[in-house]
Amino acid sequence: MRETCLDEVYKLAKTDQRICFVGSDLGFGTLKNFQEEMPDRFFMEGIAEAHIVGMASGMALEGKIVYVNTISTFLTRRCYEQVVVDVCLHNLNVRLIGNGGGVVYAPLGPTHLAIEDISIFRAIPNMTIVAPADADEMRRLMPQTVDYPGPIYIRLAKGYDPIVTNDSVPFRIGKALPMRPGNDVLLVTTGITLKLAQEAAESLASSGISAAILHMPTIKPLDTEAFFEHAREVRAIITIEENTILGGLGGAIAELVAEANFDPAKRFKRIGLPDVFPDKYGSQAKLMEHYRISASEIVVIATQFCRR
């Protein structure tokens, strides 16, 4: 997914002189073609995220469309104030591409785990947050980021994630994608959790529970209209995300559910990372399983909710 994303930046830059790329101290050879063919618009500025985000803002103020890339935790935590004040307050066309959203860097430990990036960015006015599910969805997203007004945070997954999306519903930033109809439980996903929901929905179907899936790659602005349209049909709602359950997709949907005052009330559950710093290593898959962000957990909860 990262390769697709950066390759798209390269392709878009070939046809649009406004596009610039700014990295921190990325891996050897990253976007070599961009650096060689468009050196005037390629910047590798060192391990200095506060400066990089400010510099990107200065460039955007001069009319550039600036794609900034580094590891998610450093792009969201270290320079949070630059993101808020320089990028978002000025509503600039800066695209922040975060590598390793969620627990992708499981072997590297908690300093590298972006467990709250969605939550902290969701609280910033003017920010748009997109977490595609796979490389194909990334390929559909990227051309739209060129002329989309204002800042965007693009959350990258691990890479080589299985392809679970298709283009049957056109991808648009800010729009939810109905992936499966159903009338018992609604599974709301973002990023790679779409795959877990798909597995769970298959399993639930075999036991007679009809699960709808609403995929929300754009977490902010949230497609509330689509959410209510799908929520109306079901008795229960489950959100699934690779992010803390505080303030991310689950938090956003919980806010909608709470204020909707559904009558009769709907059962509701957020599946995501608990409010702790993960203290295990291993792999992304292992950590997600450890924190019960899994198809089997979705099945267990959906089954409880739908039992009469």
Partner: protein, 275 residues
């Protein structure tokens, strides 16, 4: 010229008039950063009178020199200069920090002539580097000026940006530091010593000069021969006095910020400027 805590420069009529206008704005708002606004006067006066290219009738003119007051808390001085040059009506100055005014306690780009919101320190130089690098790469002749506070140079982002400016050989970038030697709590020497300050900028790759920041002629001499060195960004350490021009506010930490300014304070300040 280090550790110069006083300036013997006598202020001319124009410098006194600008200070009087600053005091009136402070009075209208009933609050504000005075000491830091007064140390800035000659720096901004020379930039706006003699050095920078701009068009008050077309504030976003693409050929303008960019200016970022990175020490945003000194904004009253910039407001006074912008208004005098015709960027907005004088009436706005009377609404400083008021609900329906456009002039707040820190600069905001909704004000004609202001490029970016500053106020949180350490942001101006990275943004200025981004602007200057674009002008360089696009072969545009305009320059980028930014004024930093001395206390602001405690921020690491200033030095991250300084390295980047040198790397990109930004001789279209000019950093002026208002080195009045006082930050909010105490002197810069006591809070977090910047010395050897000019040598730091030199070591970070800047062509660096020091000047009495209240000496209009000296500032003009320096700022009309930019860049100081081809292929290097410029740093000018302006030795200034916090509260300059108001004897009882000079080097007086109590005048860094005032949250309550009364009419009697305004009268005393105006009288002191004429002393």
């Amino acid at each position: 010229m280090t550790r110069q805590d006083t300036s013997n420069i006598a202020l001319d009529r124009r410098s006194r008039d600008i200070r009087a206008r600053i005091v009136h704005v402070l009075g209208h708002g009933g609050r504000g950063h005075l000491g830091t606004s007064l140390s800035l006067v000659e720096i901004l006066r020379v930039l706006y009178d003699t050095v920078m290219h701009y068009d008050p009738k077309n504030p976003r003119w693409p050929g303008r020199d960019r200016f970022i007051l990175s020490k945003g808390h000194g904004c009253i001085t910039q407001y006074v200069m912008l208004q005098e040059k015709g960027f907005f009506a004088a009436e706005e100055l009377t609404k400083f920090c008021k609900f329906d005014g456009i002039l707040g306690g820190h600069p905001d780009p909704k004000v004609p002539g202001i490029e970016v919101s500053t106020g949180s320190l350490g942001h101006g130089l990275p943004i200025a580097v981004g602007m200057a690098v674009c002008a360089k790469r696009d072969a545009l002749p305009h320059r980028v000026f930014t004024v930093l506070g001395d206390g602001e140079c405690n921020e690491g982002s200033v030095w991250e940006a300084a390295m980047s400016a040198a790397k990109h050989k930004l001789d279209n970038l000019v950093v002026l530091v208002d080195y009045n030697k006082l930050q909010s709590y105490a002197s810069t020497y006591d809070v977090l010593d910047l010395e050897p300050f000019a040598d730091k900028w030199r070591a970070f790759g800047f062509a660096t000069e020091e000047v009495d920041g209240h000496d209009v002629a000296a500032l003009e001499r320096l700022l009309t021969k930019l860049p100081l060195r081809e292929d290097k960004p410029t740093a000018i350490i302006c030795h200034t006095v916090k509260g300059k021009g108001v004897a009882f506010a000079e080097n007086n930490l109590k005048w860094h910020h005032k949250s309550s300014i009364k009419d009697t304070d305004v009268e005393q300040l105006l009288a002191a400027i004429e002393d």
